[in-house]
Subunit: 215 residues, 2 copies
Amino acid sequence: MTGQVRTVDGRVAGRRGQETRQKLLDCLREMLSTSPYRDVKVIDVARMAGTSPATFYQYFPDVEGAVLEIAEEMAKDADTLKELVAGKSWAGKSGTTTSEELVDGFLAFWRKNDAILRVVTLGAAEGDKRFFKIRMTVLNAVAKPLAEAVKELQAKGQADKSLDPAAVAGSLVSLLASAAEHQKAFTSWGVKVKDLKPNLAPLVYLGVTGKKAPK
Amino acid sequence: MTGQVRTVDGRVAGRRGQETRQKLLDCLREMLSTSPYRDVKVIDVARMAGTSPATFYQYFPDVEGAVLEIAEEMAKDADTLKELVAGKSWAGKSGTTTSEELVDGFLAFWRKNDAILRVVTLGAAEGDKRFFKIRMTVLNAVAKPLAEAVKELQAKGQADKSLDPAAVAGSLVSLLASAAEHQKAFTSWGVKVKDLKPNLAPLVYLGVTGKKAPK
DNA sequence: ACTTGTCCTGTCATGCCGTCAGCTTACCGT
DNA sequence: ACGGTAAGCTGACGGCATGACAGGACAAGT
């Protein structure tokens, strides 16, 4: 179903080939987290993988193509983020717990994938549809269930109905993404990294429920 | 005092030189808004400016150096953002107006400079101190006075004192920046561009005052 | 050992990078 | 008007990355 892995010139990749391919992806990932995206060169990736540039071009059309591969892998992984929101309660103190766990889980995911997410974010901002779609997959993993939660609270009359649930959820997820990507900014505002969660969680709670977080 | 403009090899730039330099910057700016950052080449900028690559290198060490120049210019411009918050009232309905004007002004600024801000954001995320500083200058133009406003409200007992004003202000500014940079994301959530302001403004109000926005 | 298809790399044409020497142009004092 | 001086620009060049291809190495089955 998922079609075998293929080289650029159409051959199917065997065991050894897939290993090489994977090694190239791993090295590229490593490279992305140590050099500016603009400076990542095929030749460096190939060197690090102990192979030649020609080999790289056998498996990927260019650096961007390989980056997309890594990004898609990560997007699959983002599915686990759904469970941070789906089926969770926002009532009273358990709502506080929910928001804290959401912030924590989201920040952890971003931190784990920060290098690739940086590139995805850039690509999306530049209007590249493929990167945009990947970014939306990640954000939606949280935003969709979050919007559902807001809608339910509104239906129960426990939240401000004048707000669009999708907009609220989207805003909160954007906030989390931005905070995760630029943690250093908060540090320079005097907010220590370990204080990030206690400061963001009440805002999430506030956004979802429209009420101050209970003690 | 502000030292004249100098070429890379130390000559002082005269009238004609400054014109060329400026033309190169303008073309680079244009280029950034039409091509992915990774694909912006010195030779293209030079061609567009009707000059040669060698001339480019006379005024800038490399593409990044020229980008920094553009970014610094923009950062100066960001000073006007202060007035969106400084001295504004958050009481009752005038608070609604304040938050709406803030959202509007901020989004407009970001839209106007989106290409260069994209690169600045990337550079900052990659840990480049020069880009980080520029980004903070822009964000602080809003975040600092906003934190002041929150602090004052807290002092008057009109806002939740358990939250760090700097963290709240930083979060809200991050949210605005993220929303501005990824307006298309909201569109894909079914939030039209013109609905962005009415949806973000109440959140800002909510974040600052801790209360639901009045009608 | 031979065949077959996968896998890798040497090599090459092309194009961008970044530098330098040297030519042209503008400005200034006399 | 004229020459001197510094600013301004570019052609040319070595170096390196890109991307394509053909051919050799290798593994597996017969």
